[in-house]
Symmetry: none
Subunit: 236 residues, 2 copies
DNA sequence: ATATAAACCAAAAAGCAATTGGTCGTTTAC
DNA sequence: GTAAACGACCAATTGCTTTTTGGTTTATAT
């Protein structure tokens, strides 16, 4: 009825019409444009033709669509670059250790500012349990839980998420054969005193001290790891 | 006040009763045990007393609980927070800002140590382009790229991945209506000088200075954001 | 005093209806 | 005759409500 003269390719005209609409219309913050059914009615074209025009713009990369979600301007948001497996593949133990040295002291510093008494007593529990551990596996469990409790104490779910990601990559990265010995942790294990120092600093709201203690602890872990690596290399 | 009294008599019996129940009962695959209300009825004890017993077992690390989920045997599954959308849903602009303040200065510090001349000249390019930006969208593009170039300069793919995660969450979080104004960035925009200071410090291998400059920059951004929020609130 | 029962709370889950891009079949128009 | 238009349907997704669940508080009773 309306376009009684199909002189040119009709789709092309609808594309320009759609471009004009997008240029002059205020889109919401997320760049979402109206659903196809509404838009086709607003533009006075059929949904079929509108979809052809949208196909063109999508091929040009100017918008992206998804069933149930809608149609959005801009480029499709890259989903989950935080793929643990991919990260672990690209990374290596040395990088993980350096990343921990960058991230965890600052998380500890923040935790010293925000930790609740409940969080601190949970840290103390981890200290006690890790000392009572009969196997290295148990010890590692409490050690991991201590570090995560510190991250939780920041009361920042995003920081906690980043910590978890870091932790997941740490476990996923191949640490070669340098694994824990089957003997039980000795009471002179370096981490005990270092963990105590960290929690003490947090309890005293000593932000600088907490960060320094965590950094010192991780540096010790790094050194021990290198020594193990050396020994393993010499055994070959 | 906490555990001055061992109070072995009442709770201890329920703990053993609960242990016996857990030993003889077939739990589902996920290790979930009945809700407290059912379990207390089944064991013939009050919920208060059952909860005391559950507290003991939880402190021992034999089970974990979560509101809305339930109570489960074993150790709490370290929920892999790699999902950007889930993180964004749990987080908020204030958390994102705080997380940036915790993470990015240290990344900048590390970058000051490892940045190559090529990386530094790319940072300089971002500075120039951001000054030439005609729209806020363009400016944001170069600003984002500058920050990412700094993260790349750490030459640590894991740190870069964590930065990307942080950045993705930042974009995914709903910033409400406080969006960029449609005017072009003024030459007196605070970020210009601050960005310069960051890159200068990196170029001079001044790790402490680079971290401080980044922290100052982010604090300015935070302040400006709060001002915007205030203004938006007053307009309502 | 202490334990109990009940009520309430917020987080999480489960269920349900509405929305939305994608697809197919039939009808309509020129 | 051919292509557009229309309608119906589908599955993914969202938004909302209701239910469940651990955690907390309050009043009551023993």
């Amino acid at each position: 009825m309306l376009n009684s003269h199909p002189d040119t390719h009709p789709a092309q005209g609808i594309v320009t019409q759609l471009r004009a609409y997008l240029a002059q219309t205020d889109l919401p913050d997320d760049g979402r444009l109206p659903p196809e059914r509404e838009l086709s009615a607003a533009l006075g074209v059929s949904r079929t033709e509108l979809r052809k025009a949208l196909d063109v713009l999508e091929a040009e990369g100017q918008l992206w669509r998804h069933v149930g979600k809608g149609t959005f301007m801009g480029s499709r948001p890259l989903d989950t670059f935080a793929d643990i497996a991919a990260l672990a593949r690209r990374s290596n133990p040395a990088e993980v250790m350096r990343a921990r040295l960058v991230i965890e002291p600052e998380i500890t510093r923040a935790a010293a500012f925000t930790a609740t008494p409940a969080a601190i007593s949970e840290m103390r529990l981890c200290l006690t349990r890790s000392r009572q551990a009969e196997t290295w596996r148990q010890y590692e469990g409490w050690d991991t839980r201590l570090h995560r409790t510190i991250a939780e104490a920041t009361q920042n779910s995003l920081l906690l998420g980043l910590f978890d990601t870091l932790n997941a990559v740490r476990r996923a990265v191949t640490w070669g054969r340098l694994r824990t010995a089957p003997v039980r942790p000795l009471p002179t294990h370096h981490s005990f005193a270092e963990h105590d120092a960290i929690v003490d600093a947090i309890e005293h709201r000593d932000m600088a001290g907490a960060a320094a203690a965590m950094r010192a602890h991780l540096q010790t872990v790094e050194r021990k790891l290198l020594e193990k690596q050396m020994r393993a290399a010499n055994e070959d």
